[in-house]
């Protein structure tokens, strides 16, 4: 039984390690120890669900974690992590930290970017047409959800080449993802086409369900912007 409990801790650690910070991992193990150390499929599913809800891990990742956890529990191979020992060692070595910065979780809501822009940026956006301002803000919101930004630009370049479109804008954007100077002078139709390509790339990177979720959240955040009263981000979609 103790071996099974240990293996369960090890499996949980391995499964959640890519998505949680160290403090959160320990908390996840603590949750396991407190109420989920029984050997049944429903227990495993309930545990994964509990931790995912606790740390806001998306549904797509949650589903893959069910399978991964089960696989680790049923494999015979030795798992080299002993999370309980790690926790004990940590407690002996230094005092417990109250809070820790959380690791970004794939496809979960990223913090909404500040609505307050630096003064010089505000001056600049004031002179730009509303569709350009909304586009820039929309893209900033979306990119914040991506764990792997280079993958986005790689796919965008590929899509542009496939459609025999110019790759200039994508190249300029890729060189500095947070700057949108290159959007000056572009009309609504061009920007809408870009938004669609970004959507396609998001689908390739994270799947259509997560992509839809990111887009809807980004749009909701965008609609708080004053410029969106003149130009709704929905017009890009």
């Amino acid at each position: 039984m103790n071996d099974l409990n240990k293996r369960r801790r090890q499996a949980a650690w391995i499964c959640f390690e890519p998505y949680l910070a160290e403090e959160q991992l320990f908390k996840a193990i603590h949750i396991l120890e407190r109420g989920y150390q029984t050997d049944s499929v429903s227990n495993s599913i309930a545990y994964i669900g509990r931790v995912c809800s606790e740390f806001d891990i998306g549904s797509e990742i949650r589903k893959s974690l069910y399978g991964q956890f089960h696989k680790l529990m049923s494999e015979g191979a030795d798992l080299r992590i002993d999370s309980l020992a790690l926790a004990l060692k940590k407690n002996q070595a230094k005092p417990r930290q109250e809070t820790a910065a959380s690791k970004p979780v794939q496809a979960s809501p990223a913090p909404v970017l500040s609505m307050v822009e630096p003064l010089e940026q505000q001056d600049k956006t004031a002179s730009l047409p509303p569709h350009t301002v909304v586009f820039s803000y929309f893209m900033r919101q979306l990119i914040a959800y991506l764990p792997d930004k280079p993958a986005l630009f790689e796919i965008l370049m590929e899509l542009a080449k496939n459609k025999r479109n110019s790759t200039d804008h994508i190249s300029r954007w890729a060189s500095n993802p947070d700057k949108f100077d290159w959007t000056e002078g572009l009309d609504e139709k061009t920007l809408a086409s870009l938004v669609h390509r970004v959507y396609t790339a998001f689908c390739e990177i994270m799947g259509p369900v997560a992509a839809d979720e990111c887009f809807h959240k980004a749009m909701a955040a965008c609609e708080q912007k004053p410029e969106s009263r003149q130009f709704s981000p929905a017009r890009f979609l």
Binding site: V41, H196, Y199, T200, C203, E204, G207, P208, V209, A234
Partner: protein
């Protein structure tokens, strides 16, 4: 056909018609909300169009007089018939519509409505009745060999399944369905209660689908047919559930419902001939084969939204083979060979024909909706309606 049989068959016409509602609900529930109307329209209209096409052309090809055993040559645009003949035509029209509507679920969320209707007309006008004439026409060459398909495991369901397979190959997967690393991403349906309700309605309709197929030879087996139908469906659902449970996978409603449909498809070929125990075995195995086939299709990156190929194509094959594997008398290799001949003939006819027609449609009209339409949802882009206007944001380019 005596009066009682005519009345029973007329009731079965209504039951099989109602299966269209079952397909519509199951497929719509298994799709995303932004495509729900498009799926329903495809189901609704392939029933309407299929009915007209089959009455005008298909019935004659399938049941008309034939000297060769390959195609019927009369009874087109049938105007005069006895009551029994009219009921038979109506009944067979419902079968034809069932074969066509199987395709709509597989190709959901990315196929143009107009080209789907054209393809559906081709299925009910050519693909289904031609094979049907081989297997069910009095002088059909397959029937002459001794091919047995009581209510259409191969004639209806496999035909639909192979046409669906051709469709998903030509169309390709939905945007983002498979990652570049080959990982399959789930795209859950928007309304699983609808999926369950659709399953229930299909099951109800199946009593008419199988029960109405009794002829004067099998009329004494009506009770056995209805019992076997129910046992097959029940066993299929149970096997799907146990398969998922023992593989320590989440036990999904959608897969369980599909398991029962696979069981129903499997029992369809032999419902009048199998013992109840054999019916349980056939339905049970059908459920397992369905889940294995779904895994295979995903590994091949063939995106079938509702599992139509696995349920109807593979289930149909198994059900037809089962007629020979669970005989009432002694096992016969020649019977098995005949059944296999029918299965192969069905695939060889349906799949390449459907594939070529899809390719033709794609070249001249384009079958695949654009990625922009896929993003916006086919409800809006094809029909200018949304299924849930109070809950869905209209992604309307004219919105200020």
């Amino acid at each position: 056909m005596n009066e009682l049989q005519v009345i029973w068959m007329a009731m079965c016409v209504m039951l099989v018609f109602f299966m269209q509602a079952g397909f519509a609900l199951l497929e719509s529930g298994a799709s995303r909300a932004k495509n729900s109307i498009n799926v329903l329209m495809k189901n609704y209209m392939d029933m309407c169009l299929g009915g007209l096409i089959f009455w005008s052309v298909g019935f004659g090809l399938m049941f008309g007089d034939t000297s060769t055993g390959w195609l019927g040559t009369n009874h087109f645009f049938q105007q005069q018939f006895t009551t029994a003949e009219a009921v038979k035509l109506a009944y067979q029209t419902m079968f034809a519509a069932t074969a066509a509507t199987i395709v709509s679920g597989a190709v959901a969320e990315r196929m143009h409505f107009s080209t789907y209707l054209i393809f559906s007309a081709f299925v009910t006008g050519i693909i289904y009745p031609v094979f049907g004439s081989w297997a069910w026409n009095e002088h059909g060459w397959l029937r002459a060999l001794g091919f047995v398909d009581f209510a259409g495991s191969t004639v209806v369901h496999s035909i639909g399944g192979w046409c669906a397979l051709a469709g998903i190959i030509v169309l390709g997967p939905r945007l983002g369905r498979y990652s570049r690393q080959g990982e399959t991403r789930e795209i859950p349906g928007h309304n699983l209660p609808l999926v369950a309700l659709g399953g229930f309605i299909l099951w109800l309709g199946w009593f008419g689908f199988n029960g109405g197929s009794i002829s004067s030879l099998e009329k004494n087996n009506l009770g056995l047919v209805l019992l076997n139908t129910h046992l097959g469906g029940s066993a299929g659902a149970l096997s799907a559930l146990l398969f998922m449970y023992f593989r320590k996978q989440p036990v999904l409603l959608s897969a369980t419902v599909n398991g029962s449909i696979a069981g129903l498809v499997s029992i369809t070929a032999g419902a009048a001939y199998l013992s109840p125990l054999a019916a349980v075995a056939v339905g049970f195995t059908g459920g397992v084969f369905y889940l294995l086939a779904v895994n295979l299709l995903d590994r091949l990156q063939l995106d079938d939204v509702v599992g139509a190929v696995a349920v109807h194509g593979v289930g149909g094959v198994w059900g037809t083979l089962a007629v020979a594997l669970f005989p009432q008398g002694a096992f016969s290799f020649s019977t098995l060979l005949v059944q296999m001949t029918g299965i192969v003939a069905c695939f060889v006819w349906a799949f390449p024909t459907a594939f070529l027609f899809f390719k033709l449609l794609d070249n001249y009209l384009g079958v695949r909706a654009s990625t922009l339409d896929e993003q916006r949802g086919l409800d809006y882009t094809e029909h200018y309606e949304v299924g849930y206007p109070e809950f869905q944001k209209r992604l309307d380019s004219n919105a200020a």
